[in-house]
Assembly symmetry: C2
Homo-oligomer: 402 residues x 2
Amino acid sequence: MLVVKKFGGSSVANKERIYNVVKRCIEDYEKGNDVVVVLSAMGDTTDELLEKAADISGDAPKREMDMLLATGEQISVSLAAMACDALGVPAISLNAFQVAMHTTSTYGNARFKRIDTERIRHELDARKIVFVTGFQGINKYDDVTTLGRGGSDTTAVAIAASLHADACEIYTDVDGVYTADPRVVSKARKLKEITYDEMLEMASLGAKVLHNRSVELAKKYGVSLVVLSSLERAEGTVVKEVTKVEQMLVSGVTADKNTARIAIIGLNDEPGIAFKIFNLLARKGINVDIILQSIGRDNKKDISFTVAQTDLKDTLKILEENSNVINAEKVAADEHVAKVSVIGAGMQTNAGVAAGMFEALYNVGVNIRMISTSDIRITVLINEEDADKAVRAVHDKFIPED
Amino acid sequence: MLVVKKFGGSSVANKERIYNVVKRCIEDYEKGNDVVVVLSAMGDTTDELLEKAADISGDAPKREMDMLLATGEQISVSLAAMACDALGVPAISLNAFQVAMHTTSTYGNARFKRIDTERIRHELDARKIVFVTGFQGINKYDDVTTLGRGGSDTTAVAIAASLHADACEIYTDVDGVYTADPRVVSKARKLKEITYDEMLEMASLGAKVLHNRSVELAKKYGVSLVVLSSLERAEGTVVKEVTKVEQMLVSGVTADKNTARIAIIGLNDEPGIAFKIFNLLARKGINVDIILQSIGRDNKKDISFTVAQTDLKDTLKILEENSNVINAEKVAADEHVAKVSVIGAGMQTNAGVAAGMFEALYNVGVNIRMISTSDIRITVLINEEDADKAVRAVHDKFIPED
């Protein structure tokens, strides 16, 4: 069996943790498995490197930034290989050049194009544990690229896909995917299984377990992911195409407080005005989420939409700069909103979920300001202060107790 | 004109120093020159990485050690390229993979085999300052190698040779090569020029200005080296095949206190015994320097030789372990000795130097214990406490005052 394991930065933050990681890998190796281990940079290394760069230049070229940041993972993998060797098990560390992990050329946010398997297979055939740098690649110029924060998950999935691995295990500081944030909902349950689509909705809506792109890639290549705790020995959550074990109507309830609402009031009702506005924002890389359009007075219309709170300042600036094009009466912003979502592949065939969600929110006095849905998700925009209460109420409604 | 510049770790130890280095490179660039800059790891980075490795394993595989250490220079070059960009001059950093600096496979002590020039030339043609990682290479397995301490000098020379550079400037914390250590001999003069051979004798005898291998390589490929201060703007020392400006009889006087003397007393006078002993030491990588063999009493003989003080413990251990083969009456060691040498290409045609040196030492009451000579060097072994006095006396004798 060929297993790809991925450990994040906090799992390799110091000597003890590196040895812990290596021992878990050796357990697998000693069962006769081929083991490839993708590591992130140790603890705060990436932040320290970012600080060094910020000290030198307020606007460092992204190409040089990637060259700098890529050293972090190289340190992790070489130290892990040393630890493995010290425990008497042959090991080797490989960086993006050595594996040949080809990516697009977008520095800081590259995507995998092709991963060569020859070198990794050669080392596995020599019965070595192979430690591979996460988060990085090389582009067609032989330059170092990085995948953006959280990219090591993607590295693990891409390597698993390339090697046709039997399993891809993502070790995190939580022990699986829960039906809701356990800090908010005490009755939250760990899921045994979840579909790729559900996981994608969960990830993009604030459940910070897996990097979204890694789930997309896993779905594309049919790589079974397992989310596990790097600290405990609990069973994790399997992410796959179709779940069988427990076919629940709703798999999870999430809250995303990094949300702000913008209302553009009193727009002329001319064709293409909404397109103009959202095109302006898209060109600056601002993602617009729930959109609501309504007819106002005097043949005017209003458009409301949500953006990430972290994008609010930029959004307002762009709208201000283009006020002559947009020609609205007023732009209003509200930072104190949150998105609460129910997610479940089961709801595709059950229309009652929306009604049940609205009822649960009504019963606890939560006012719904906007609604957005997909095949497997219903999202409502509510006041931020109501978010936790809303999650608990909706969770109680749909998720059966253990 | 194409110039290769090399700056050591202390020259790039922090933000201010990186900017200083970059500004000096920009000055050259703005004269219209092509500029390639070889950098070492920042300040104590290499030592910190060594500590990390020592923390993980007392006996880390050298292949992994090189993988770890190579990150240090990658950090330097990317930060330098950022600083250059911040000053408005296009720059790029390249590591050993990107340049393709091919070395032998000996991890920790690799030698250059071939340096590809295509990528560097491509970047120079685009009018970029090119920052290259010193100290490292790649071997035929695509693995990272390092050249051993001080290897960045060798990188600079090898790149200068490959690119047929017009100049190779080595910036150090001294401003050139002196006729003696200025801390010992107040009248020591900076040399305008020195031959490769003289520099080699100087380097191996304790004048820590240039890495020996870099001088050998410069000699082999006829690369003119200039040793300059990274702090001041003084004229440096040129190292080349033949010096013309000042044909001095003696170019320098050096003292090497990292010396110990071992005497093996009462050996059986059988053929090959000296070979046996020195072969044992050579196999463990211990360099033996001055050797003296003498006939003792009762058909026995004595052999004395010097080793580096840092090798003394290992040497005594090897002699002890092989005492049944060596079969000597006694092994004695003396740590408190020093080698003092006069070096000068001019002495090849002048037999009077040795006599002058012995006279100068006699005049200040320094006792000579052993003597060794080459074409351009005379070395004497004396008591360590006499070293400074001896250097001053010999310097006074041969080096004319400014």
